[in-house]
Every structure is written in structure tokens, then in C-alpha cells.
């Protein structure tokens, strides 16, 4: 016994340990040892799929490759209405060789009156070439980009701005930069396609509320608040976003920003405002809807806007506080992974901003023209005007036709006829994958340079054509 306890041989020590232990301990230990051996031998399950060589060959044989280009229907609208536009686009536009009054493109401010912009852009080509084709974080940043960001932030009275090279990708990358899988987005039904794609990319849960219907939104927010009360642990980890447009591209209506800001405070939402149309068009100095409705810009968490409409360049930008904007420089996919905006277009945007700052009267003029168009275009016999009086984008709906396809056909015909008679308007085109297919309409854009004569002339043409077709 004494010998065994102080035995120098490890085996006798082990022997002691094992045989002095209770039986259940030995039993447990042995079964654990067996478990380890079993785990090591156990094969990784393949989902129960073991194919024989024959089965494999059969699958390979039966596989048919899809054609690289799918066959296109001959009646596809893209093959039908081809219009060719020549020359510069300004107050007038040459479509299929006919000089038309332009109420189709989004250059609301008529900046072609200022040749300085073009001159500066050309000088910029001499200085920088046409761009580095590198993303901003990778040899793509040129000093004009930084200047534009600084100027935009100053113009919008925010801490910082970030410039994207394409307007569509601005909002489509800004949304998934913040909204993640576990979050909830409240969005208006009529938001434009870029925002819809951004929401898709975020994979968040989406709740759509009726267009500009604050009661519906509040009802849905209350429902969410109730669900949150039931599950406070989950609610603590979900963020709630509210996404609206300043002026809706698809309807021409303005969002009730004051009510939205109140709801934001009440339900602790993060508010994204897309000012694709409203930037540079409304407000005393063109700052957009926050200026027009006298809402403190700090109440809006993130503003994104396009440089393709009022500014007449290419690109888009987001403004907000330093923390919000800086996050996009690593998480905004459109910023990280696409080539930077060509410097000449950046320079054009800077020159346009110069004009915005020096001559704020252009916004007043645009609003006057928009109101005049609104007054006159209310009296069509077959068409109904919708849209806010100040909005530079207006929609004409058919009064008596509700069917989407039929109205689309009629509106296309009207647009074609108008173009033949010297007025360029477009039937708004939507992709079939829109979340809520908007009612088809004739989209009118207002140009600052339109005179009273031009407007009544346009009215006459549309009235005449729509009467004969619809």
C-alpha cells in the first residue's frame, strides 16, 4: 500500500486513480472517451446525397444552358418608340429633326443661359483630363471633388457632404449603408425606383404607407410600437427608419415634412429625405423642402440629392452630420466601388452652385413658372393635372381610362403626336418590377425660361392632341 502511493511508476499511479474511483465516474469517463473516438471517426454529413457516376452523367447530359441574350418580343416598347435627339438640350430640344419646346427633360433651371459653366468644364478637361477611372478611395479623388463636397455642405448648412458619381446609386447605396437585416423601414408607396432598389439591398423589413397619408403612417407606427412593447428585447436591437422624398418624382407631390418630423421625434425614427427633385428648385435659395417648410435641417438625419436635375451635371450627394456622412465613405457601395465623378462634371456642379449662391432669383423665377403652368394646365378636357403647384415635375393623368396598359398606349401616342407638333413631353416609363406600379401619366417638367406664350402654346398643343386621341 505504502509502496503504491509513492510509486515512481506512472502506470501504478494510473491504476490507483482508476480503481479507487466510484463506478459511475469510471462509466462516465469511459463513455466520454468513446464519444471522442466516435466524433473523430464520424463522417461529415453530406445532406444524404451520394450520387453514383451514372446519376452524375445523367444530370450533366440533361443540363441545357440558358442563352446569353434572351429572345426579345418584337412588340417590346424599347424597340417601338425610338426618338433621336440632336444637339444640346435646353429650353428647346431637337427630336427626330423637329425643334420642340422642351417639357420633357429635368433641366429645370435652364442653366444653358450661363456659358461660364461650360467654359469652366472645358478648362477642367485641360487641367485634369477626363477622369482617373479610379474609385474615390483609390486614386480617384481630385481636389475639385473635395471642393464640391465642402461647397455642398456649406450650401446646405450641414457638417459634411459626400459626392457619388451617379444619382441612382447615391440613394441606392446610402440606404443599405445604414439599414440592415434586423431593421425596419417605413417608406412611402410612391418612392422612386432608386429608393426601392436601396431598400431591397438593405434586406430590412419594409412597411409601406399610403402616399402622403400621415394617418396611415401613424397607424402603422403604432402597430409597430405595440409589437415592440411585447418584445422589448428585440425592439432594443431594431432601428426604425423613415424614408421619404421631398418632391415625389412619380407623383409630383410634396411630402408633409413638418408632420413627418413630429412623428420622427415621437416614434424615435431615423429620417432619410431624398431631394432628387426638390434640391435646387424650391425654397428661397434653392435649399429644398426644409427651407420651404421652415423645418430645421438638423431634424432630418440624412439628405440625399441628385446633381442631375437642377444642377444639370452627373452625380449625386448626401449631406448630414460628420458621423453619418463619414460612415458612407467605407460603407456606401457606390462610393467605394465605382469610379469617381469625372472632374469636368464636378467642376460644372461647382459652377452651378456659384450661380445658385450669386443669383437666388432663379429659384423664384422657376417657382413662378411652375405656378403658371399649374394654373393653365388644370383645364384640359381629357387630362387631369396632379402635383404640387411649386413642383417642377407635374403629371397629367387620363381622366376616363384606368387600365394601366391601355392608358400607357394612349399616353405614348399623345407624347409622339406632341413631339411632331413641336412640344417635347414624355409618357412616364416604369419598369415592370416596380413595387407598386404607378398610374401611367404624361410627365411635364417645367423650365425656368418658359414664357407665358410658351405655356399657352404648349397647352394648346396638348389639348388638341389629347382631344383627338383620348
Amino acid at each position: 500500500m505504502l509502496q503504491a502511493e509513492s510509486s515512481p511508476y506512472i502506470f501504478s499511479v494510473l491504476y490507483d486513480i482508476i480503481f479507487q474511483a466510484p463506478t459511475y465516474v469510471i462509466f462516465l469517463e469511459l463513455s466520454l472517451l468513446l464519444l471522442v473516438i466516435w466524433i473523430i471517426i464520424h463522417k461529415q454529413s453530406n445532406g444524404g446525397k451520394h450520387l453514383t457516376q451514372k446519376q452524375k452523367e445523367e444530370i450533366i447530359k440533361n443540363w441545357v444552358s440558358e442563352p446569353l441574350v434572351a429572345e426579345i418580343d418584337e412588340n417590346h416598347p424599347a424597340l417601338q418608340n425610338n426618338h433621336i435627339v440632336d444637339g444640346p438640350i435646353g429650353k428647346f430640344i431637337t427630336v427626330d429633326g423637329i425643334k420642340c419646346l422642351n417639357m420633357a427633360t429635368h433641366n429645370y433651371l435652364g442653366l444653358e443661359e450661363y456659358p461660364k459653366i461650360k467654359e469652366n468644364a472645358i478648362n477642367c478637361i485641360h487641367k485634369y483630363g477626363v477622369g482617373s477611372c479610379g474609385p474615390r478611395g483609390f486614386y480617384g479623388t481630385v481636389d475639385v471633388h473635395l471642393e464640391l463636397e465642402e461647397r455642398l455642405a456649406k450650401f446646405m448648412d450641414q457638417e459634411e457632404a459626400v459626392v457619388y458619381s451617379y444619382a441612382f446609386s447615391t440613394v441606392a447605396s446610402a440606404i443599405p449603408a445604414y439599414c440592415k437585416r434586423t431593421d425596419i423601414i417605413f417608406a412611402d408607396e410612391c418612392i422612386n425606383f432608386a429608393i426601392q432598389k436601396g431598400i431591397d439591398a438593405s434586406r430590412s423589413k419594409v412597411v409601406y404607407f399610403k402616399h402622403n397619408d400621415m394617418r396611415d403612417l401613424e397607424k402603422k407606427l403604432q402597430e409597430q410600437a405595440k409589437a415592440d412593447q411585447k418584445n422589448p428585447k428585440k425592439a432594443a436591437k431594431t432601428r426604425r427608419f423613415l424614408i421619404v422624398e421631398g418632391i415625389y418624382m412619380n407623383t409630383g407631390e410634396m411630402c408633409p415634412l413638418r408632420e413627418l418630423v413630429e412623428l420622427r421625434a415621437k416614434y424615435k425614427l431615423r429620417l432619410f429625405l431624398d431631394e432628387t427633385v426638390s434640391f435646387g428648385t424650391i425654397g428661397k435659395s434653392g435649399h429644398g423642402i426644409t427651407e420651404l417648410l421652415c423645418v430645421d435641417i438638423k431634424e432630418v438625419d440624412l439628405i440625399s440629392a441628385s446633381l442631375e436635375n437642377a444642377v444639370e451635371s452627373i452625380g449625386g450627394f448626401c449631406v448630414g452630420s460628420h458621423f453619418i456622412v463619414e460612415h458612407q465613405r467605407l460603407s456606401g457601395l457606390g462610393y467605394c466601388f465605382s469610379a469617381s465623378q469625372p472632374p469636368l462634371l464636378t467642376q460644372a456642379a461647382i459652377s452651378a452652385l456659384d450661380i445658385f449662391e450669386q443669383e437666388p432669383r432663379i429659384f423664384e423665377q422657376l417657382n413662378d413658372v411652375a405656378e403658371k403652368v399649374d394654373e393653365q394646365f388644370r383645364y384640359f378636357t381629357k387630362l387631369e393635372l396632379k402635383g404640387h403647384p411649386l413642383s417642377p415635375v407635374k403629371h397629367l393623368y387620363l381622366k376616363h381610362v384606368d387600365d394601366l396598359e391601355e392608358s400607357e398606349k394612349i399616353l405614348r401616342k399623345i407624347a409622339d403626336e406632341c413631339m411632331k407638333k413641336g412640344l417635347a413631353v414624355v409618357a412616364a416609363e416604369y419598369l415592370p418590377i416596380e413595387k407598386f406600379p404607378p398610374k401611367r401619366s404624361l410627365r411635364i417638367t417645367v423650365n425656368r425660361l418658359l414664357t407665358a406664350d410658351d405655356i399657352s402654346n404648349a397647352y394648346k398643343i396638348i389639348e388638341e392632341v389629347s382631344k383627338s386621341i383620348a
Binding site: L14, D16, I17, Q20, A21, P22, V25, L28, E29, L32, L33, L35, V36, I39, I40, H42, K43, Q44, S45, P176, C179, K180, R181, T182, A201, S202, R203, K233, K234, A236, K237, L330, S331, L333
Partner: protein, 152 residues
């Protein structure tokens, strides 16, 4: 850090299989154990039990409690509600790294039993810690949150 630039969308799946990781693992456990052993009033069985329990608690915390990944995934956080264990090998069971990570606590437990000479109190403490760290590793507990523990 953004994941997926040049390789795995979720590097959390396989960094534990990278070169030298298990050497590092063993060294951390061994050094921790040696430090415990060198403290005068801790006996050898006590040191082993403490090593074992700490190791199992570390497993529980790092593999089964904290969720998500330190890498920011570009496809908006698929794994935000998955523990590290659930992310391993894209959720495939009985892969090599899973087998290794199950076997290590068991072997450590058996060693501890031997060095504590199967003392009853040590055995019970070690066994409970082993169960707590092994059960969530079982395939039937994949994505399952018992009693809603650690659900969000």
C-alpha cells in the same frame, strides 16, 4: 474592416482553421495552467479544475454567447444573429474544425479527472462545466435558443 474583398464573405467561418491557430490555443491554455500552478496556495487538482472551468467558460462566451462578426460584411450582416459556432463552415455539421472544438473540452476534462484523482467535488464541478460547453455544440441545438436565452 470590410470582409469579402479577396476571399471569404464571412472570415469568421474559418479563421480558427488558419495555420498555427491550434498551437496558439494550446499555448494559451498551457501558459494559463502553468501560471495557476505557480501560485503557492493552489494545489495541483485545484489548478486543473480552474483551468478546465475557465476554458469551458471561454468556449461558452466566445463560441455560444457573442454574436455577429468583427468583420463588417458587405452583404448586410447575414450572420448578425448567429453565434460564432453557428457560423463555422457555413453551418455544416461534423466538419474537421467542429470535431476538433468538441473533442478539446472532453479531452481536457478527462485529463482534469485524472489529475484530481476523481475527487467527487472536483468531478461534479468539472462535469457541469463540460455539459454547459458541449450541449450547445450539438447539431440539434443549431439556431435553437433554449428558453429564449440570448435570443437577440
Amino acid at each position: 474592416m470590410i470582409a469579402g474583398g479577396h476571399g471569404n464573405q464571412n472570415p469568421n467561418e474559418d479563421w480558427t482553421m488558419s495555420k498555427g491557430f491550434y498551437m496558439f490555443y494550446m499555448l494559451v491554455v498551457a501558459v494559463f495552467h502553468l501560471i495557476l500552478l505557480s501560485i503557492p496556495f493552489i494545489s495541483t487538482p485545484m489548478a486543473w479544475t480552474l483551468t478546465n472551468i475557465t476554458h469551458n467558460l471561454a468556449h461558452l462566451y466566445f463560441l455560444h454567447i457573442i454574436k455577429g462578426a468583427p468583420w463588417q460584411s458587405i452583404d448586410s450582416h447575414e450572420h448578425i444573429r448567429e453565434t460564432h459556432w453557428e457560423q463555422l463552415d457555413s453551418g455544416v455539421h461534423w466538419t474537421l474544425q467542429r470535431k476538433t472544438l468538441i473533442s478539446i473540452p472532453i479531452i481536457l476534462f478527462l485529463l482534469t479527472c485524472m489529475y484530481t484523482r476523481n475527487d467527487e467535488i472536483h468531478f461534479i464541478a468539472n462535469f457541469i462545466s463540460l455539459i454547459v460547453c458541449i450541449i450547445p455544440k450539438m447539431p440539434s441545438f443549431h439556431h435553437r435558443r433554449l428558453f429564449g436565452i440570448n435570443k437577440y
